[in-house]
């Protein structure tokens, strides 16, 4: 019998036991992606080293507030690599300070960035990568085929698509981070390109595609049907061409689409409040989505700053949020609710009062379509494996990870 090795679904380093600390180093970016949620993006605000240093000092000197076993120091933008010198300096400072203070994170830390890939091969970026290689993960965003990618990811100044400039750097990136996946975000206009885009990303040598629909209320009449058709077509290609053995796409997961018990499965989905985000002015947020530049309707939701520290009272709503308290009765009794995600920031932005406790459900019909396609995927895959006599083998080797959060 052929030995069936299945590529596991995406795993996040130290997921669940690590603190994620995000520095919003710049709001500038070379691109002006059409779906970008950073509504207040500008090229002026960049973090100073002094601000980052004060944030690091505050965090490391309050070890009792940060008891997680590990830490991910995350740098986002805009495009973070536009500030590679600054990031390099901050990372050096973090390493030195964790060591000097004998901090429990010194043995268990990681730096993380997600880049648009445009200046990935520049000497400065490459030097930074080499220097921090053992403690670094770099994600790279590509949306799919040239047509799909260039539909959204266009240069701010020229309006030209960025596909060629990104794809050129993929071999280098894959050689340095062979286990990284790429993140794809689906909005209404992207639906017709989903199947070909995922297959295209696989063909570039990227084995893992983390893909999700935006949470915002962008969906048009009929989008769900179109979406389902795309996913069924993708499922056919993955299964018929045996791609499931070596590639994964987060749309298909065995765990989703079941009802959830309101007592045992009452956890919050989103990690807001468990994370900490810091902006250029040294203001703390429960997640970057609560910073002003990410919000359409509401004002920033701050939880402190580098001078006064974290206001623990402001964290309490996030740390006690559960699924049922923020959900409508139809979501609590929903037959397919497992895997139906939400974003606390979008909940807040879309809510009728300034609260994080009103779950936004614009994604409802898309999730239901995903569940139908997902059922199709697993039924088809299991049927095929049974016919090939490989089902038992598959059950033994199948991935055990959970859905990616945020």
């Amino acid at each position: 019998m052929e030995n069936l090795k299945i590529r596991p679904e995406g795993k996040v380093w130290q997921d669940g036991v690590s603190k994620s600390i995000t520095f919003i180093v710049t709001k500038d970016c070379q691109l002006a992606c059409k779906y970008c949620y950073l509504v207040g993006k500008n090229s002026k605000e960049r973090m100073s080293f002094e601000t980052a240093k004060s944030a690091v000092d505050y965090i490391l000197s309050h070890e009792s507030q940060f008891t997680e076993a590990s830490v991910v120091w995350d740098f986002i933008g805009g495009e973070p690599f536009l500030e590679v010198d600054l990031i390099d300096r901050i990372c050096d400072y973090i390493k030195i300070e964790m060591y000097r203070r004998n901090h429990h994170w010194f043995g268990s830390y990681r730096f993380s960035l997600t880049t648009n890939g445009i200046n990935y091969d520049t000497p400065k970026v490459q030097d930074f990568i080499k220097k921090n290689k053992n403690h670094l993960s770099v994600g790279l965003t590509i949306d799919g085929t040239k047509v799909k990618h260039d539909l959204n990811r266009i240069y701010k100044k020229s309006g030209k698509g960025s596909y060629e400039d990104v794809v050129r750097n993929i071999p280098l990136w894959m050689s340095q981070f062979p286990f990284e996946g790429t993140k794809v975000t689906i909005s209404s206009e992207d639906i017709p390109y989903i199947a070909e885009s995922v297959l295209h990303i696989y063909s570039l040598g990227i084995h893992q595609v983390n893909i999700n629909c935006v949470f915002e209320d962008v969906w048009k009449e009929g989008d769900d049907k179109l979406f389902e058709r795309q996913l069924v077509s993708l499922a056919d290609s993955i299964i018929d061409n045996d791609l499931y053995k070596d590639y994964s796409c987060s749309f298909f997961s065995e765990h989703i689409g079941k009802p959830q018990n309101p007592i045992d499965e009452n956890q919050n989905w989103c990690g807001a409040g468990q994370m900490l985000a810091i902006d250029a002015n040294g203001i703390f947020y429960p997640c970057t989505r609560f910073a002003q530049y990410s919000l359409r309707e509401k004002k920033a939701w701050t939880i402190g700053n580098i001078h006064d520290g974290i206001d623990q009272n402001r964290l309490r709503p996030f740390l006690t949020l559960d699924r049922c308290t923020q959900s409508k009765p139809e979501c609590i009794s929903c037959e397919v609710s497992r895997g139906c995600a939400w974003c606390q920031g979008e909940n807040y932005d879309a809510a009728e009062t300034p609260t994080a406790y009103q779950r936004a459900t614009a994604i409802c019909k898309m999730h239901k379509a995903r569940v139908r396609a997902n059922n199709y995927y697993w039924n088809k895959l299991y049927r095929k494996l049974e016919l090939e006599g490989l089902r038992e083998e598959f059950e033994k080797n199948k991935p055990k990870s959970k859905d990616l959060i945020c």
Binding site: T302, N313, T320, T353, P354
Partner: protein, 327 residues
Amino acid sequence: MLQYLIILLDDTSTSFCHYECTKVNRKLISLENLREGIFFAMEENMMIQFVYPDYNLPQEYEDVIESIDHSKIKPASCCDNADVVILNSLDETSDFQFQEGIPYVLRIDKENLFSYRQEVRDIIEKVARLNVVITDIDSFTDDDFTTYKEFLSESVGQLIDLYTKGMTPQFNLLTDRMMLHEMNNCNAGHETLTLAPDGNFYVCPAFYYASPCDGKEISLADVCKKGFSVGSLEKGLDVKNKHLYKIDYAPICRICDAFQCKRCAWLNRKTTLEVNTPSRQQCVVAHIERNASRMLLEGFRKKGFYLPEQEIKEIDYLDPFEIKRKR
């Protein structure tokens, strides 16, 4: 379900709770709004509580007020025929003629409470019921918690002595929890609503007096544009996300047994930005009271006063947030 309508008769109506009345200029509710408010309460089957300012109202107002069953909340400085009298500071209590059978509310900040403990306790002996409302709970520090605990345990001793002598005063911070078997919170937004002189409804008077644009609270800035109102006499009630005022939708409070706690939606909003989530200060203060009530109950039992149905368990936390986090 809505049960009580609080009608602020004037912009300078006395505060009776945690908030400050921030308006300094008198502005009476219009007679028309007063009549409409009463009509609304009758339709909704709500009991009305009128909150008075510190001057006598024109007779035509009193005539309208007397047209419906109600209670009157009045400041001590102008409190004829009051059902509840508000003392806005300890100064107002010297030479004050307390009347029998009337509940008194003393609004006091922590500094005065801690500095004049004896003076506060003296009032307990003079009235049928004293409600102490601490006006700056949100600023309590760990040292304040310790002092508060001391104050309450001294008061436990005093109450046991008084009851032994045959007096039966009620003191909200200690005797309420002892008599309760379930939550008895303020329930603003769920059972109680406020009608302000501007003709708008608010969850409670605090939301009317709140100045959302003080510049410190940037998260409230969008509230600034619309204000905190939850409807008007003209357009009707419109309490958005009203379920969040119910205990079932308060993840920390629903596992709590500090039944006497006000669970103040306003303090929640102010400190945590969510009306359903209390601050640590509110929880710890309420638990110090709960535990002191437990001491009082034990003390009463030793003296042979028997409350057979009541039990207040020993617990090892002061903030149910910690319990919720462990689950």
